[in-house]
């Protein structure tokens, strides 16, 4: 039966045996009686696109900082006329978001503010983006310089002779505080351009839809897509390494990608290794996930992942395939598409507007595509490395039982832990940490495991009559249509609809891929069905026939990568991972955005 609203967040019964789960997260992200009226009257959707798995306390940190930063740019910086922030909550470990609109009577007053503020960014985009690249590198440098090593038995003599008074204990406290600030800064930078980039893209998108009401979304994306994109660079470098391995006669070394030490010994001194060394920093600071989770694997630390891709490329090269990305052909095709649509416009005036909007979209789009490498991959790799370094120190110093335990502490609790560590180091007395945190970590680990098994509802609360918030539509692919599909989904005969994200029709067997570890289970010719896909799964794409995701719009990472690799994709179906099962035969029509179950 179709429903008129989703269940209230207050009605949801979570999994058994998770009492106290709220403690894993700051009190401000829990649904609660204080704000019940506000919360109950809102529409909340589970952002499985970014946070498909139950959050640990540290995973939650990034969700909170990302959503607050996104919101701040809309509401306080650029004054996006109809949109304030995107509110966020955690329910039984899962992130629920709710776009906050602006009271219609206030929209007009924000227009001149937006024009001035956003106008400045659009007018100076190139310079600001160059400066952004500098800021990101500087932030990465600052994070890398943080020192979380154990406190010394005795301070260096220079502390004394220099008359600084401030010792390692102070530095550790300061470093941790600074670390939190730098993470926050990273997420502020992440959204410095993104919302505006989407706005400019949406404007071109809207113009195309008005000129050509039936134009496929894909065609619009094709006109704007960059040709040489930093996000694709890591994968391109793997192709170079594969070619050099073949040319240098060390191709066989990659036959067993899991034998990392064996490969490293076999290719030592080769051109392939030399190329690896020259590009690993920064390009292999590349995560196998989306960068938001503690379990995401980074290529530099987990070379078996890129080695497996290198092996696949070697197989193709040896089969005589040309694996190079045909840059010139891609550029020529994009130019053809642009000029043909342009020719189809009715007047020179329209062509002038088209040129202007496409021009602006072309200026802003490199950021939209590339920020993902700089933030989610590169900076987040460095951040997770530091979290692990801190965890290792805590374990080494007996504060926590295991280096991985730190992710079960909230970021403010780590402050307390480090104070305990520092102050008792100062006194030279036992810390309370091990006895205090040990049971808490164990309890939380068990709760988190139970939360991870739970299937959260797609949405909560009262759906809006229409969804107008542009970023919700653009990034999450959530529209009035998709919400009503979700509401009516129990009527469904097994078919799904979503965004026609990458064209083509394919049939094949379903493989449900819930997390990066499952990617390895994919077999040739299967259809990947995932909550989302991350760009770093790209090298696996030659294997699959099609891709279906629960959440994601035309500009989601999944859509961009699927188009790049010519794999049909339907994104934003809402229920694919819940309604489909591994082994089912389905048809994916990436042109119409439909998924049909052929046989069970």
């Amino acid at each position: 039966m179709a429903q008129s609203r989703f269940p209230s967040p207050f009605e949801i019964e979570g999994p058994e045996g998770v009492e106290g789960w709220e403690e894993l997260y700051p009190y401000s992200v829990s649904f609660g009686e204080n704000r019940r009226e506000y919360e109950d009257n809102r529409f909340w959707f589970w952002d499985s696109m970014h946070w498909g798995q139950a959050l640990t306390p540290w995973d939650s940190t990034f969700m909170e900082m990302a959503l607050a930063s996104l919101s701040q740019m809309n509401s306080r910086h650029y004054r996006i006329p109809p949109a304030d922030g995107v509110d966020f909550r955690v329910l039984y470990g899962y992130a629920y978001l709710s776009p906050v609109g602006v009271d219609p009577s206030n929209i007009e007053a924000r227009v001149p503010q937006f024009m001035e503020r956003a106008g400045h960014y659009f007018a100076n985009w190139g310079d600001l983006y160059d400066s952004w690249l500098g800021k990101i590198r500087e932030t990465i440098g600052e994070i890398e310089a943080l020192d979380f090593s154990p406190l010394p038995e005795m301070e260096d003599l220079e502390i004394i002779t220099g008359g600084t008074a401030l010792g390692s204990g102070y530095e550790l406290q300061k470093s941790y505080h600074h670390f939190k600030d730098l993470i926050f800064k990273t997420w502020q930078y992440h959204f410095e351009f993104l919302n505006l980039g989407y706005a400019a893209y949406l404007d071109f998108f809207g113009f195309c839809k008005e000129a050509f009401p039936s134009i496929p979304d894909l065609a619009i994306a094709k006109m704007v897509a960059g040709v040489e994109v930093d996000l694709f660079r890591p994968n391109e470098e793997l192709k170079v390494i594969a070619q050099k391995a073949v040319d240098g006669g060390v191709a066989r070394a990659f036959d067993n990608p899991d034998d990392v030490a064996g490969i490293q010994a076999a290719i030592a001194g080769s051109d392939a290794q030399a190329h690896w060394d020259s590009v690993a920093e920064p390009w292999f600071n590349f995560t196998s996930g989306n960068g938001f989770y503690h379990f995401d694997k980074i290529w530099k630390e987990n070379p078996e992942i890129p080695y497996a891709f290198v092996r696949d490329y070697i197989t193709k090269i040896e089969a005589g395939e040309d694996i190079a990305r045909p840059i010139e052909a891609i550029r020529a095709e994009r130019d053809r598409v642009v000029s043909e649509y342009r020719d189809l416009l009715d007047s020179d005036e329209d062509r002038e507007a088209f040129d202007g909007k496409l021009g602006l979209a072309g200026v802003v789009f490199p950021y939209v595509e590339n920020h993902n490498f700089y933030i989610e991959h590169w900076t987040m790799s460095i951040i997770w490395r530091k979290v692990k370094e801190l965890g290792a120190t805590c374990a080494k110093e007996g504060l926590l039982g295991d280096p991985g335990d730190i992710i079960y502490l909230r970021r403010d609790e780590v402050d307390e832990l480090l104070w305990d560590y520092y102050s008792n180091w100062a006194v030279n007395a036992p810390t309370a940490a091990a006895g205090h945190w040990g049971p808490i970590v164990e309890k939380r680990r068990a709760i988190h495991a139970k939360l991870s098994e739970w299937s959260p509802p797609k949405a909560l609360g009262e759906p809006p009559e229409v969804i107008t918030e542009p970023f919700t539509i653009m990034l999450w692919g959530i529209t009035s249509d998709s919400v009503s599909t979700w509401l009516g989904s129990e009527d469904d005969s097994g078919g799904l609809t979503g965004m026609a994200a990458s064209p083509g029709v394919a049939e094949g067997k379903v493989r449900i891929v819930r997390n990066p570890e499952d990617v390895g289970d994919l077999e040739d010719g299967e259809i990947m069905v995932a909550p989302i896909t991350a760009p770093s799964w790209a090298p696996a794409f030659p294997k699959i026939r099609a891709c279906v995701t629960d959440i994601g719009g035309m500009m989601s990472h999944a859509a961009i990568v699927c188009r790049e690799y010519g794999v049909p994709a339907v994104t934003g179906t809402g229920f694919a991972t819940a309604n489909l099962q591994t082994g089912q035969m389905i048809r994916v029509d990436g042109s119409s955005g439909t998924v049909t179950v052929l046989e069970e």
Binding site: I80, P81, P82, A83, I107, V111, F114, M115, A118, G119, F122, A199, A200, L202, D203, F205, G206, F207, K209, E210, A211, F212, P213, S214, I215, P216, L218, A219, K222, R336, V337, E340, Y341, L344, D346, S347, E349, D350, E352, A353, F354, G356, K357, L360, V466, I467, T468, P470, I473, T479, S480, D481, P503, V505, S591, S592
Partner: protein, 387 residues
């Protein structure tokens, strides 16, 4: 006698016709024939609208089945036959435009009179030679052809004769070709055509008839294509209606065709709706075209592959570019041609509905991108997502 009718003065016309045809007949008899692949635009008045459009498609390198036009000179020659003019005029004068039943009878008499005229020797000779050449070209003895009326109306560029004159399909052998040519000529005097000229105030002698003779296509499927989306006028799309067998089923509206929307630029199939197609016109073993039931396993199946759909869209767009305005195209999938070359075009003519709507600018004169971004953000985006 119809007092309201404009004067039907065949005497006025005949001297012109006589001198005209005389000049032509004295010249090379090949002037009676214009091959589509050698068509030049200056010959348009000689071959009529339908033939001219097929010739023009050849000029545009659109894949049209081979064939030729018998020019209006041949038609004019029959009017020099003793007594025909008087006989037809008498019949025309007897018409009462309100008496439909009687008019059908009168029309039949006029047609019979025209068809009874012996075809001039020069015309028979020219047709025989050209048909033989076509058979040779196709490598088939007595190649099946379509024999089509192609009316021409000098100084009446807006006249529409669509559907008024006869077309004969699967005509084989020169004798039958000649018979059908006569019937095309006479089809200028169907009751509908007479009534149309009456309503429009056109002179009967202002209209001449050329005939097209073109190799038949034996199609797996066929249909029509518009180079815009007829539901919203979107010029970036090609709308395709397709059904099994010959195109008559689609054109006449006897089946609900499969319906597709294909993007002109990236050739994506934006929309597909496969319907239940219960009947088709098909060539039988006996060489005749029959209306037959589609067997059950094909009724709900798509009648074209995606590659064929794309090929139709590409050809339709090519036609549109050539003619410089939106087109309404008839096409077919020839079962005797290999995949990749099996889409042929039968006709292309200007689309008339959306093309005549005034164009409204969508840029609203404002080149200011900030205002535009604001309006994009403020107006609900979903309203624009209506494909």
């Amino acid at each position: 006698m119809c007092e309201a009718c404009p004067v039907i003065d065949w005497a006025e016309m005949l001297p012109t016709v006589r001198s005209f045809t005389a000049r032509r007949v004295d010249a090379v008899s090949d002037d009676l024939i214009v091959w589509y692949d050698r068509y030049e635009r200056s010959q348009k008045e000689l071959v009529g609208g339908k033939n001219a459009s097929l010739g023009e498609m050849m000029v545009a390198e659109l894949p049209v089945p081979p064939g030729f036009a018998l020019t209006i000179d041949a038609y004019h020659q029959i009017w020099s036959h003793e007594g025909l003019v008087d006989e037809v005029n008498e019949l025309l004068r007897s018409i009462d435009h309100d008496d439909f039943a009687a008019n059908i009878e009168t029309s039949n008499k006029i047609r019979a009179a025209i068809e009874a005229i012996e075809v001039p020797e020069s015309v028979v000779e020219a047709l025989t030679t050209a048909y033989a050449a076509l058979c040779d070209h196709c490598g088939v003895e007595d190649v099946p052809v379509a024999v089509r009326s192609s009316a021409t109306a000098e100084d009446l560029p807006d006249a529409s004769f669509a559907g008024q004159q006869d077309t004969f399909l699967w005509v084989t052998g020169i004798d039958d070709v000649i018979t059908k040519v006569r019937r095309c000529w006479s089809s200028l005097f169907t009751d509908r055509a007479i009534a149309y000229r009456h309503q429009m105030g056109y002179l009967h002698q202002a209209i001449s008839m050329s005939v097209g003779i073109q190799k038949m296509v034996d199609p797996t499927a066929s249909g029509v294509a518009f180079t815009l989306n007829p539901t919203n006028g979107d010029k970036s799309q090609v709308a395709i209606d397709a059904s099994w067998g010959l195109g008559e089923a689609v054109v006449s509206g006897e089946v609900t065709p499969d319906n597709y929307l294909v993007d002109k630029v990236i050739h994506e199939i934006v929309h597909r709706n496969v319907s239940t197609k219960t009947m088709e016109y098909r060539l039988t073993d006996g060489g005749t075209v029959e209306k037959l039931e589609v067997n059950a396993d094909r009724q709900n199946a798509a009648c074209m592959t995606d590659d064929e759909l794309k090929a139709v869209a590409i050809l339709a767009r090519k036609a549109e570019k050539h003619y410089g305005c939106p087109q309404d195209v008839e096409w077919a999938i020839d079962k005797h041609l290999p995949a990749g070359e099996n889409v042929v075009m039968l006709q292309s003519r200007p689309e008339t509905v959306w093309s005549q709507k005034p164009k409204s600018s969508i840029s609203k004169g404002g080149g200011d991108y900030m205002s535009s971004i604001v309006s994009t953000l403020v107006s609900p985006l979903h309203n624009k997502k209506n494909n």
